[in-house]
Amino acid sequence: MSKVIIGADTKGFELKEHLKNYLKELGHEVIDKTPEGDLDFVESTKLVAEAILNKEGDRGIAIDEYGAGSFMVGNKHKNIICAQVSDEHSSKMTRDHNNASMIALGSGIVGKKVAEKIVETFAKAEYAGGRHQIRIDMLNKMC
């Protein structure tokens, strides 16, 4: 089971609450960094990324209306690889190939059922390692 850090801005708050409960029902531990729902996506995503860098958990989920803002903010952190996803396949592949520690979701872009499968897949999929590691080393040298 994974320890999942989750956070959202105001527009992502409702989906965050839904996914938090869904992940808990699956047996994952969930740490909610934005219980109040009063932050913009820069602040909410920073809380998730910093928690991942501090090793408070092993997967991060950041939510805003489109996922675009959270994606940028996540990746502007050194040693964070954040994937903007709206489909289950990308969620699996980004763990497998990119060792992404975070995903960014758009509450206005994905419906609840797709979002559930995205986070469920992200929480359990593992990094394949191997040849992919050179690309991860390159990304982690950046910014």
């Binding site: 489109y66 994606f71 191997g130 990304l139």
Partner: protein, 172 residues
């Protein structure tokens, strides 16, 4: 417009298609590679494509790899780049209008060619609509990376490529 494009070896054909599509619409294309299907590494091309944008040699950038995640992440890690990885048209429209993104990423194994072309059309047509709220968000995003020389540091990845060439990474 001048458009900087880049890809990894998984989606070179799609990048070539995008280049031709852009030229057919009257745009000038700077193709940063990769140019064939030989195994290579997406951060090299994401960074090169992004550098053309921050150096103002290109107006906007488009990057693609299998899911788009790796190459778009590498572009986003360059100071001054605001990028979004998209699988739908509406996210591009928002990201241009509100966040003034200068690079988009697309998963070449995720989106079909029709959707890719539509995403590109909207990316190029949509203008940033400045408001005090979105300007403040953009300033906060841009301030996250300190000034550095990474965009134009062409030897930055050499240590890893040397290790790769010396068998320091697994082949599979």
């Amino acid at each position: 417009m001048k458009i900087s494009i880049g890809c990894d070896h998984i989606v070179t054909d799609i990048k070539n298609h995008i280049g031709k599509y852009l030229e057919s619409k009257g745009h000038e294309v700077i193709d940063n590679g990769t140019y064939d299907h030989e195994r290579t590494h997406y951060p090299i091309y994401g960074k090169k494509t992004a550098a053309k944008v921050v150096n103002k040699e290109a107006d906007l950038g488009i990057v693609i790899c299998g899911t788009g995640v790796g190459i778009t992440t590498s572009a986003t890690k360059i100071k001054g780049i605001r990028a979004t990885l998209v699988r739908d048209v509406e996210t591009v429209r928002y990201a241009r209008e509100e966040l003034n993104v200068n690079v988009i990423g697309i998963g070449g194994r995720i989106c079909g060619v029709g959707l890719i072309e539509n995403i590109i059309d909207v990316f190029l047509e949509t203008k940033y609509k400045e408001t005090p709220e979105n300007k403040a968000l953009i300033e906060k995003i841009d301030a996250m990376i300190e000034d550095n020389e990474q965009a134009n540091d062409e030897t930055m990845f050499d240590e890893f490529i040397e290790k790769w060439n010396n068998g320091g990474y697994p082949a599979e």
